[in-house]
Assembly symmetry: C2
Homo-oligomer: 461 residues x 2
């Protein structure tokens, strides 16, 4: 235990939370950044919170003495969002894991923040409804809201920005507010819901979410198509979207990623850019959409079409995507993956990826690309030798170069990973004068600066 926690606070937390207030090194380490390349910075203590009242009590106690509060879901964020650079108390929300209500007629669910997306979908199994967002990790829904997560289905179902109807949150002064309502839309005042979504816990702790659900599609079909170039794949997607072909997922793997998958799983795909698609709808609508897409793809030199209707076939086809992280990691055993993402207008995507691949090659890096093409969003896993300082520096320089490139193309420094610690300097470039207004909001709502400090805003803001 460091001395950053005042004894008064330590005693108060121990009295309030008993053995759910923990200060052991192991649990503190477990709550520092785990899936990111950013060095872990453990909190001084961890509290396992069981209710909104407990979170409010915790925040109130920390506010009194100006100690930081760091909200924690599953620890799967990628930019150091759960690090504690200034110490403080991590509030682990995983015990708040109840689905509080499912309103079938309204197609919404009210959940606690520790419910994960797969847990929610398991709960919904017999309702005919599902929660469509899939960021890859089995993240908590509170964490997904806080980082404005999305993933493979955003092209059809939107991001957390679109699917969160209402929130309950503990604000930095310990007060509890409710934002939004279960109504589908509202013109009632400032959009506090959208302000808390993506705020990464810097403006308050989300303690309850009301989420839009979707009807389970009557049928699902998957399709994979190879292309000679990234540009041909992107052109196909642009034309399909312009033609209103209904697509539920549109994933791109570059040739390096396909090679990684082949090496791991022996699926024998052509080692050229690959699109993986999913169609949701009635069998008639899907058949029509698939044929429309096929015609556009053929016009753009698409080949090697493979379709799948049953769950087993689909999973086999999508194995390339699902195994990608491990397949890529296996390209260079012992390496550490630096994960980053950018998002550009889709018309710029081919240029962005092509320039990125050249820049990666010029720097002698290994950095396969996989993207949510329909949104213009793509991910890199840059595989670096953790002990090679020069290579790490080249990778860091490359990430900066890529972020600047995306911003210069009218895009954003992150489509879905968030800012955390890792992208603060890029947010500053992207937001320009807007940073000052973000800082003003932060100062107004959190005058003591206790909520997840050192994230999103540059320290000088």
């Amino acid at each position: 235990m460091t001395d950053r926690l005042p004894q008064t606070l330590r005693s108060a937390l121990a009295a309030r939370f008993g053995d759910r207030f923990q200060t052991g090194q192991a649990i503190r380490d477990q709550h520092a950044a785990t899936t990111t390349w950013i060095a872990p910075q453990p909190p001084d203590a961890v509290v396992m919170a069981q209710s909104t009242a407990e979170v409010a009590a915790l925040v109130g106690l920390c506010a009194e003495v100006g100690v930081p509060v760091i909200p924690f879901g599953t620890g799967t964020s990628l930019e150091g969002q759960v690090n504690a650079p200034m110490g403080g108390v991590c509030v682990d929300l995983s015990p708040m894991n109840r689905v509080l209500a499912v309103h079938q007629d309204d197609m919404d669910a009210v959940v606690q923040p520790g419910v994960t997306r797969t847990a929610l979908n398991a709960h919904l199994r017999d309702t005919g409804l599902f929660f469509p967002l899939d960021p890859g990790a089995d993240a908590s829904l509170g964490g997904m809201a806080s980082t404005r997560a999305s993933g493979t289905t955003a092209v059809r179902y939107g991001t957390m920005r679109e699917v969160v109807l209402a929130l309950e949150a503990v604000m930095p002064d310990g007060s509890v507010i409710r934002t939004g309502s279960r109504a589908r839309k509202s013109a009632a005042g400032y959009d506090l819901t959208r302000l808390l979504v993506g705020a990464e816990g810097t403006l308050g702790v989300i303690t309850e979410l009301t989420l839009r659900l979707q009807p389970q599609p009557e049928a699902v079909r998957a399709l994979s198509v190879s292309f000679p170039t990234v540009r041909a794949a992107c052109e196909t997607v642009i034309l399909a979207l312009q033609s209103a072909v209904p697509l539920a997922r549109i994933e791109l793997l570059d040739a390096t990623s396909v090679g990684a998958v082949n090496a791991r799983s022996g699926v024998g795909l052509p080692e050229s850019p690959l699109l993986l698609l999913e169609f949701h709808g009635s069998p008639t609508a899907i058949a029509e959409a698939q044929e429309s897409f096929r015609l556009i793809a053929v016009d753009n030199e698409g080949s090697g079409f493979r379709a799948a209707s049953t769950t087993e076939e689909r999973n086999r086809l999508w194995k390339a995507r699902h195994d990608l992280f491990w397949a890529i990691s296996a390209l260079r055993p012992g390496s550490r993956p630096i994960s980053t993402d950018v998002c550009v207008p889709v018309s710029w995507l081919a240029d962005c990826i092509t320039q990125a691949e050249a820049a990666v090659a010029a720097r002698g890096l290994i950095a396969p690309i996989a993207g949510h093409v329909g949104d213009g969003n793509f991910h890199h896993q840059i595989l670096v030798d953790p002990l090679d300082e020069a290579e790490n520096a080249r990778a860091a320089e490359y990430v900066g170069w890529l972020n600047d490139l995306a911003i210069s193309m009218g895009g954003t420094c992150t489509g879905e990973h968030g800012i955390g610690q890792g992208k603060r300097r890029y947010l500053e470039r992207e937001a320009g004068a807007g940073i000052r207004h973000m800082a003003a909001i932060k100062a107004a709502l959190d005058p003591k600066g206790i909520m997840n400090p050192g994230k999103i805003l540059p320290s000088e803001a």
Copy 2:
């Protein structure tokens, strides 16, 4: 001219804007609330702004002396949003009416705030794209963003909350910021875009918008169906949405509204609740959707199906909806319509409308209902005798009762009209402790309180 405008400001504005700075009574009156029942409160002066730089100069000059700035688009807002209760300078953005760019591959457009939705769609005519939101009035897009407008197509295409990708805005200190980007999604920092959307000009003046467009549907078909009760109509819509039947518009007219349309246009519709629907898609998909809907409607006692595919047939079918305002007004010649809206979870809509109809009858009011059923949003036109104070008081009491009812059902006091002056007291009830945080944001971004004062927040907040 009142003496609320300091002479220094008057001289500076005259020097900067020449004859586009106007203080005549007629033009001031034209810029006070025009389409609302709220009494007009004209500004002290009007400036016709032609550029962002001009808006920034205007706001800067007003900020120096603490004089209010009231942004104005087309004046079609319904809750007194353009009134000037504390005087000040109205900035009329209608001269900023250029479409700056259309990016066909990205399906977005960059527009100045004075472009109206029909002007944008006229500009897009040959692109295969369109801007889908239709709030009824030919509002300016800056005004639609500021009031978080939506309308008949929101069930399919979302509201201004969803379709605004990026903004340029002049903030209360005269600085110009850009929020968001042309990327389809972003996890980069606080969502200033969504904070300005729906802020009704109280946090800044929107001077440019980047908007998502949609591909023009291959085909459009309309359908009308009568139901014995509002509940049967609502049940049909709930089941259709749960069954993922793709619907682009779902409008409900209550029996009084249908009667009004019959009286005006002689269309001879059964005087019972009516659903008007529109399907967008391929002919195959539309045929399938229409048949799925028909089966669900028949199960819920729907009858009198009428379909239309050509534009002329569709317009004839939708005439009932398009003429509704005039048809309703004609029910009571010389009356003044008090327009209000609420929005509830769709499962509560039948209860809400049924209770509303009973409450209207109990008060001896005439107040037909039309709703965007898919969103749980409906509108009232309460027809009152402007000279009958008792009736006006009953109407005002009824509006309060209805807002409380909607909030108690988990809904919101306004689905798409906004708060303005008219709904401040209801927002206070709806937002609870959140009001304090809205006020903190307002104070942080607009410490002098010059941006459209007297709107959204209760005066004591």
